[in-house]
Symmetry: C2
Amino acid sequence: MGRISYVNGRYLRHSQAMVSIEDRGYQFADGIYEVIAFYNRRFLDAGPHLDRLERSLRELSIPMPMGRRALEFVAQEILDRNDRNDGTLYFQITRGVARRDHLFPKNVKPSLVMTVGGMRSPKPAEFENGVAVIALPDQRWARRDIKSIGLLPNVLAKQRAAEAGAREAWLLGEDGMVLECAVSNNAIVNAKGEVITHPATHAILGGISRHVMLGLARGAGIKAIERPFSLAEAKAAKEAFITGTTSNVLPVVRIDGGAVGDGRPGPVTKLLQALYYDHIFKETGKRWN
Amino acid sequence: MGRISYVNGRYLRHSQAMVSIEDRGYQFADGIYEVIAFYNRRFLDAGPHLDRLERSLRELSIPMPMGRRALEFVAQEILDRNDRNDGTLYFQITRGVARRDHLFPKNVKPSLVMTVGGMRSPKPAEFENGVAVIALPDQRWARRDIKSIGLLPNVLAKQRAAEAGAREAWLLGEDGMVLECAVSNNAIVNAKGEVITHPATHAILGGISRHVMLGLARGAGIKAIERPFSLAEAKAAKEAFITGTTSNVLPVVRIDGGAVGDGRPGPVTKLLQALYYDHIFKETGKRWN
């Protein structure tokens, strides 16, 4: 069975999944997306992802292309039509197709695309031993809380990180505070074993994995504080990690070439990672390791 | 003859002009665009527009999809295949089609789209009597000098302006200085009759019409100063105007509801507008009025 994608009401072979050049997603990045992981063909945290999808649309005054229940139906259908046990479901919704004009067009239907793809997870050794990151100035727009497809600054930051041999870029606000990563959220652990992560303001995307991690930490009696932290504080932290839909809880052991703590994943990070794997298991029946 | 568009080597009926859902322009806003006006089927300032197109691509490490001369050939060809005397030629170039991953893909060809469309100019009465604008905080990314397709913040600002009954949004930096408009550049005229416009830094898109206007002003003995100006300074200015590919030189007579000068287009603006019409005439043979 080949790869099948959903485009505006049709299930198509992926190579034939096309949109108009006047789709506003193509000409204006006027749209949003979501990525939901699945394991054993069962979605992980689909509810919060779809809540966020609806919120992103509301913030941009783009109507839902169909009701929530219909959207869930199509999501299940596209999963059923593809031959993957573990992977990601990608949703993209744009304002629709219209003659090019910045102003919102009248009487257009939003475009809806869904695809199923691979996990693109970090390697087992990266989950085990941690990864390196570099810090970069954040070049993104002011509404990072909206999961828009305007990802060019994220692309450039991730590419720069890769060229520097790093897994991710930690993005700095103008005040020098660490906001999040190019493609994921992040957190540090201080000497008291407390988890610190940027609050979910307009300055960051409120990650679902971040939210899950905070709940798991608090459930385990770990104090989790949502406040900005500086790059200097991060470099002096005991531990650091990334959270994301395909990163789960990923230890960070080097920032700008310097070791975090003793340069190995720390106990709080390892505990949160294990709790996150438990979470995946409880939701989907998939044992991560 | 129907509308014909160019997509990756093919001349297609516009309704059939499609791109893959995995074009990086669609999923990441990973691309750039240009808009060139034509009159009497002759391009206006094509050279500087194509120079800027090449610069935008270089800044994003996207190769030219074909050589400059081939690009000019296709531009002429697509103009010839469409039935418009006056209008705009739209170019869009993206990094290409690849499996979704933020990192730059290897061995992909950039996508190239060209379309011919209408002018979408202001109305004659707006050129004559001026327009209203409102000021809004600039929400765009840090590299506004790159003419990227990541236009969502521009779309939102233009829409908010329209909903407030204004033609354009004047975008303010965090320091309160006026940068430019959502879709065009802007300038003010002080009591000495000097033109003031933001310098072409990374904070604004260096407009071709802005550049032409500066040359015309200086050629006519008008002092033209490139420095930031505040919103307060703009509101207290004698005159104000917008420059753009389809706006030409467009008087601004109200900012946030308050009159600029005496609320009518001033003499410096009118002179620059007339000089801009002369420029169009010299380049294309088209008499604007």
